[in-house]
Amino acid sequence: MNQKKIFYLTVVFWLLIFSGFILYKEYTLRTGTEVLLKTEPVDPRDLFRGDYVTLNYEISTLNLGEIPAEDPYFEYNDRIYLALEIENGYGVPKKIYKNPPDDELYIKGTVKELIYDWEEDKEGLIAEEPRIKELRIEYGIESYFVPEGRGREIESQQWTGREGVDVKVVVDKFGNAVIKSLLIDGKEVEI
């Protein structure tokens, strides 16, 4: 193969990667359903992409006592599909599935931590098999990037903990989610 062909192949290959990446996310943004999710932000820094806000959603921790699960046995790194019900624009967890449910709005996540619960007898011994109490889930939407230096500024000025911080997320029919905007007290944050 001559160098000219290699040059063209490289350019096509790179453009395919860039456009594939963009199309994948744009598909979700353009075809998905808008859902609001409640969060608590903190501000670290990414290796290559500067300042970002770490978003910890209410649906990041799923209490199995409150949310029904299709199958109560989970393992680390299991894929889950959380069915959401929309109440006043907010996505509220309805049921946890191990396979994508039919005809329901759901968001795809991965189990990152299992929190167990068990009962002890009078002598402090575990009386029964520990059962899973809560799941820590990652949805791939836990970072929100802001201009360099603005993360801490926004946090100190506006996010005092009293205001409601929500994230507008778009979820497509395959459960993929993309962050659309950040809202403080219902207003979109201008960055």
């Binding site: 193969m1 160098q3 000219k4 290699i6 040059f7 192949l9 490289t10 350019v11 290959f13 790179w14 453009l15 990667i17 860039f18 990446f21 963009i22 996310k25 670290p44 990414d46 290796l47 290559f48 992409r49 500067g50 300042d51 970002y52 770490t54 680390y76 790194n77 990152k112 990652e138 791939g140 939407i141 836990e142 970072s143 929100y144 990037f145 802001v146 201009p147 360099e148 993309v178 962050i179 960055i191």
Partner: protein
Amino acid sequence: MFDEDLIQKWLDEGTINHAQAEKMRADLAECKKEHRSKRQVIAFSTIGAILIGIGAILFVASNWEKIGNTFKVLLLVGSTIGIHYAGYHFKYENQKYPRLGSALILLSALFFGASLFLIAQIYNINANNSTLVLIWIIGVFPLIYGYMSTPIAGLCSLLFYLWIGLLYTERTDLEKLISMKDLYLLSGITVYFTGVLHGFTEKVKHAEKTFKFMGLQAVLIALFVHTFKLWEYKVEIIVPVIYAISGILLLAVLLAKPLREKSRSFQADVSISIIALLMASITLTTIYVPESYISAPEKVYMIIFNVIFLGLLTLLLYAGYNMEDIGIVSTAMFWFILLIFARYFDFFWELLPRSLFFMLGGLVLLVISIVLERKRRELKVQFSGGEQ
């Protein structure tokens, strides 16, 4: 290459006359000058490319709000393609600036990563995502072979280590399987092995040295970390198995006769396979010999790893000297100084008053550096036949 001594010998023997000797001396001087100048051009253009690449990554990191996302993507992707074309043009079409062309191709590979991270930033893809680094590797890896690019082989090795690190922090279940230092030691052995395999085929031989260098550095860093008395050393059974497989594989490849004849750095290659096999036996010991059987296990493992590290450095020095490879000799010497420095801190920090500790340490290091530098210079002169 022949040197001054050889020309004098031929002259004394009457093999060549004075005019021929003069011509040879002039050509030799010209050739050395040309070689030095080429190396300077490569160094400057590569450093320049890396600096611009870092600038592009920092541009992404600053997330400058004054430019819209679409424009930013077009700017960075356009620059990536443009720089890549410029590199291709200078190296293959114009052919007048092949070294600059190579540096620009490296720069385009850095820009490719920056563009990727910019798109990820726009769509708020999770921070420190290992998959992005993997896509970066996949995107630029073919260039090692397409353009015979050694700097991209180096970049891919670095990205591979970065990917391993990010994956390790993402997948907390990996912590139960293997420690970070063992993972990097194995990664280093793998990259070194990749270099060995490249050495056997003429078409990809250009990447051999880079992969071996990058692999060797990771092996040395990971082993160096092992030499500290920091943690208890316990592993899962999978670790000795992987060490054993990689050591046996490397040794099998090296000992196969047709391949052995092709290997230019047989002794250094064997040293790495010995390290892998040694690590397999040590890690196996940590599993099957309970720590209660060994008094002060942390200290014992620390001594073992110090001996192994010193042994590897000695083997590398021997291999570098035999192969007349100043790169290997310099690497071994550098790590030797670092080891002495670390152990000096370990043993004397508590024993000596601070002022005496630093003065004595500085003095010891100065003496060692003078001795090693002199030795290195002698070897360099010897290897290159007179060139300093």
